[in-house]
Amino acid sequence: MKLLVAILLTALLALVGGMWLPWWSIAIASLLIGLLVPQRAGRAFLAGFLGIFLLWAIYSLSKDIPNDGLLSAKVADMFSLGRNSILIILVTAFVGGLVGGFGGMTGSFLRSSR
């Protein structure tokens, strides 16, 4: 339950933060949730990872579908992913997830060292 709350809060805070701040605000968002929600480091990583992974995957998809996957296919091609829109969206979400995960884990460590 705590994990689910942390995931949703991370995604929400990162979404709101992203409206004004650069992309790396996702690290701050997941760090803050890591501080706020008391969890062990592993679970904090998972919460940050999934929060940002889901946010970026769903957000990319919501932009990609009206575009008929035109741009995502070209970018996928550039990364040698065979013009596969879904693959490049998964890679995108994974990279964001890593940043979010490490942010959440940092928050958890900060909390436990206080």
Binding site: N67, D68, L70, L71, K74, V75, D77, M78
Partner: protein
């Protein structure tokens, strides 16, 4: 233009009346295709290298045509007839076929039965292109590829012109061998070299002209993902449709100067500069096919036309 000769220094502007120009010529048309537009009596320097073939074939076509319609002009702009191949034919025909291997004979036959058009599927165009390239190398490399002496490669017309005018062309001899080679030796040797390359090309399925030429329209950053590659389009250097591997006549337009100006045009791009837009490169395939779009010569009364999607207002900042 020798840069060390001060007599070539800037002296002034050529008077407008002495600029090359033409008005209502008796032949009934004005044409231009990057050719030398003046003769040797022209007193001013104009540059030194001008392509000949495109202007020649354009004028020949226009001389033959009468009652020209807009469709005739569209067809003319994408014409793939290879006039250089026509001029070079009698030279290559001198090849002693009894001295050819089976492979060489095969390519010779492809070339011989070729209709001299660089259309997409023509294999003869590929054979001719490589054979002529090898013939030039075979004849000139020994003289021109001299270490520490940078010499420019001759113009595209030079070899045909020289061989037509000079039956004992001395460049045919290879300076690096004791024997005295003739044009005949060069024809055989160059076809042999070309055959080896053609075998490789055939194995990779690229013998058809457009596959060999492999025309592409590149994004400015040369990113393949943002470019249009492997376009099915014929033509080439010296041809009216002068589309080469990555450059050529992109913008095609036909204007009909009737009372109400009618215009058609196309270019290998799109109306949007956004790589994520479907309008980024949606003209390319039509361009490659040689089809045109009707252009809108907008009139004042059409300001409210439904085709006006957006307007931009300019105002003075007070």
């Amino acid at each position: 233009m020798p840069g060390f000769d001060s007599s070539y220094m800037w002296k002034g502007i050529i008077p407008q009346s002495e600029n090359p120009h033409m008005k209502n010529p008796s032949r009934g048309y004005v044409s231009s295709a990057n050719q030398l537009s003046v003769d040797s009596s022209y007193p001013y320097y104009t540059g030194y290298s001008f392509p000949v073939y495109r202007g020649y074939i354009i004028n020949r076509r226009l001389d033959e045509m009468s009652g020209i319609t807009v469709d005739d002009m569209k067809k003319l702009q994408v014409d793939n007839y290879n006039i250089k191949a026509e001029f070079a034919r009698d030279i290559l025909m001198q090849t002693d076929q009894s001295k050819l291997s089976n492979a060489e004979k095969k390519y010779f036959n492809i070339w011989q039965s070729w209709n001299m058009r660089n259309d997409t599927a023509e294999q003869g165009a590929t054979v001719f292109h490589l054979w002529w390239e090898e013939l030039e190398k075979s004849i000139w490399s020994d003289e021109l590829h001299i270490k520490d002496l940078p010499l420019p490669w001759p113009n595209e017309t030079t070899l045909i012109e020289s061989l037509h005018k000079d039956s004992a062309y001395r460049f045919a001899d290879n300076r690096n061998t004791p024997a005295v080679e003739t044009l005949q030796d060069n024809l055989i040797a160059s076809l042999k070299k070309a055959s080896e390359r053609l075998d490789d090309i055939d194995r990779s399925g690229r013998l058809a002209w457009s596959n060999f030429k492999d025309t592409k329209v590149q994004h400015l950053l040369k990113l393949p993902a943002f470019s249009k590659l492997h376009l099915p389009i014929g033509g080439g250097a010296g041809i009216i449709n002068a589309t080469k591997e990555d450059h050529g006549p992109s913008w095609r337009m036909v204007i009909h100067l009737t009372n109400e100006t009618e215009a058609w045009g196309v270019y290998p791009g799109g109306q949007s500069g956004n790589t994520g837009s479907k309008y980024f490169d949606n003209f390319v395939d039509d361009w490659a096919k040689g089809s045109y779009y009707r252009l809108w010569m907008m009139k004042k009364t059409e300001v409210k036309d439904e085709r006006v999607k957006w307007t931009m207002k300019f105002s003075k900042k007070s």
